[in-house]
């Protein structure tokens, strides 16, 4: 399956710029995205390959523009909805509610 994720040998991405003394996570939300993805995986509704495929199905521009954990949380949402665990509507409603409350913690 070809897609933006199939990056081997592609050109035009520029230098690698490794970060010195990089922390494991850069933001608290990345920690939650990581742990939530693992914990939801324990529900046993999908496997690792399905998780990857959920991320790879992002459109090419979004895939390349998204950070690692943005892809993870996008993929997780896709799987949760596809498996009927959450609905798109309840997710969007909850997001609106959190945004209007202005409270993330």
């Amino acid at each position: 399956m070809k897609g933006a994720h199939d990056l081997g040998g592609k050109s035009g991405f520029g230098p690698i710029n490794p970060e010195q003394d990089e922390p494991v996570f850069h933001h608290d939300w990345e920690k939650r995205a990581f742990a939530l993805t693992l914990a939801a995986g324990f529900l046993g509704k999908w496997n690792l390959d399905m998780s990857r495929y959920a991320r790879e199905r992002m459109d090419d521009d979004s895939y390349l523009a998204s950070s690692y954990y943005e892809k993870w949380i996008h993929g997780l949402q896709t799987l949760l909805v596809e498996k009927g665990i959450l609905t798109q509507e309840e997710i969007e409603q909850r997001m609106r509610q959190i945004a209007s409350d202005g409270k993330l913690d």
Binding site: A35, L48, A99
Partner: protein, 203 residues
Amino acid sequence: MSEHKHAHPPKQEEIRVKALESLLVEKGLVDPLALDKLVDVYEHRVGPQNGAKVVARAWCDPAYQARLLEDATAAIAEFGFEGRQGEDMIALENTPSVHNMVVCTLCSCYPWPVLGLPPVWYKSPPYRARAVSEPRSVLEEFGVKLEKHVEVRVWDSTAEVRYLVIPMRPEGTEHLSEVQLAGLVTRDSMIGTGIVKPPESAQ
């Protein structure tokens, strides 16, 4: 100094994470304390310090090194490092004539039990694209300049098979203990984008 595009948290994603977590917790499908524990494990307990112990033992104990090259998964499990994203490990030995480096061109496959979670550059398009087509210039960006006669082997990880590079032991370290040697082994040297320096220059 490198700049990172997510220096400012993407608010939308932050909200999305919170929304998914709160919904799953309400439905009793995930336990917030279990999430805290997972974060703690991968932030503090699992990391390249694990792989460094494996490498140092391989340097000090030829019988261990032989087991590691024969069946890396089992040899690594002797330390208790096993499980998620390390179920099928292969150890790659660097020599004066062969330098191994590891990439995952398709995503971010990485040997979690021995190296922890991958750094951003490992997961990013420039490294994934270029490691296979121009490994020497990639290595130079990491400050590794190999002599011409050294063969570079690039290994593309998969969802199943993960690699650990056994870097060359630096000269002048014969007097060091296994624990001291482990302190010299860097994450990048076990990905193959670094070499292990002797103690004087490691400062």
